[in-house]
Subunit: 222 residues, 2 copies
């Protein structure tokens, strides 16, 4: 990555995880573009983000326009709308790095692992976008409300992707907002973190907590 | 569980994880029966386990005889042999609690998640054994060589099963050998821990360590 910060577009950026990532990246000095179903909703949401005046002001627009504007495009939408939104942004992301955060939760049993036919929502996105898109998956296990708090999140981010260089870029982004992030193998391995999210939701219920996460043990801190 | 300790049979008990569990449970005072392909191999292996003279001496026999002898039956066999061995012990485990530790690793790419048609090796076992068997899954992510060391293993054990009471029994067994174990939802959720094992193997390689594990954060220690 060059020293100039890439523009990060957050598709579904008004949602729980998307808004948390948008606020975190904006606070870390990245140019952020919020994508939403309508340009008006995206713009309004961006205006409500709190960012220091010396940093780039986040902007908001439609998902399609946000995808067009971004150097790196985050997909943070519910599983139920993922396929349609990926299809909608497809003409705008050719050759770009896509960070898919989608977790295949199927209501009402969101604490039960229910994998899609491809075994992974990220693999489904890669298939939908074709070989021209560079899909990386991550940020599945971070409790969205903790992202907004900003610091000291006790959860690792597992980063999956078929190209180690693309994984490294996303690991750098995660580190820039204070998260420990790790190389976790090819995109197909995203299944593990996607499935784990349902497990964590169940653990939250069973142990009456609100933000169970994971740490990988046995490796040096970084 | 009554105060009398249940007899634990370890199918595939001469393998890496099986022998580690056998040694750990024997050291914790449980009657242990090692199951192996032949009764001779099982018996010989059991004789080599080191157990204090005031504790029950582990015995060894065939997988089938071990399954018959156990109150609780651990399955610790390679994925490639799981189906055949489950079929072989089926007549001997009706109504018993089965603890399936199988991870669906498909050589040579063991660091790549490759799920079975059922999405989970444990779900496959439950289907094979039918509703009469009480299948619980766990111990997927513990590095076998660390079990033998005995104490201070920095890895949680996620326990999956459709009956919370059966999960609780297995959680008690894990705690008896010094592991933190957690209720992680229905048997179908075992997919998450099974897939995570491939991820951890990849992390071991990427970060040049030999025993990456996981901890669940955000819940009280227990």
């Amino acid at each position: 990555m060059s020293t100039a910060k890439p523009t990060l577009s957050i598709i579904g950026g008004t949602g729980a995880l998307g808004s948390g990532l948008a606020q975190s990246f904006a606070t870390a000095g990245f140019p952020v573009v919020i994508g939403s179903r309508t340009a008006e909703k995206g713009a309004e949401f961006a205006q409500n983000l709190s960012v220091s005046p010396d940093l780039p002001r986040p902007t908001g627009t439609s998902n399609e326009a946000a995808a067009e504007a971004g150097d790196i495009v985050f997909i943070t939408v519910p599983f139920a709308t993922q396929a349609a939104i990926v299809e909608a942004i497809r003409p705008h992301v050719e050759g770009k790095l896509i960070v898919d955060t989608t977790v295949p939760l199927v209501p009402p049993k969101v604490a039960r692992v229910q994998l899609p036919p491809e075994d992974s929502a990220a693999v489904a996105t890669q298939k939908r976008l074709g070989p021209g898109a560079r899909v990386v998956a991550g940020f599945h296990n971070v409790a969205a409300h903790k992202l907004k708090v900003g610091a000291g999140i006790d959860c690792d981010v597992l980063i999956f992707g078929d190209d180690p260089k693309d994984r490294e870029i996303v690991i750098g982004l995660a580190k820039a907002i204070g998260l420990r992030a790790l190389h976790a193998g090819p995109l197909a391995n995203s299944t593990a973190a996607e499935a784990l999210t349902s497990v964590l939701i169940g653990i939250n219920r069973a142990y009456k907590v609100d933000g169970a996460g994971i740490r990988i043990t046995g490796i040096a801190e970084s």
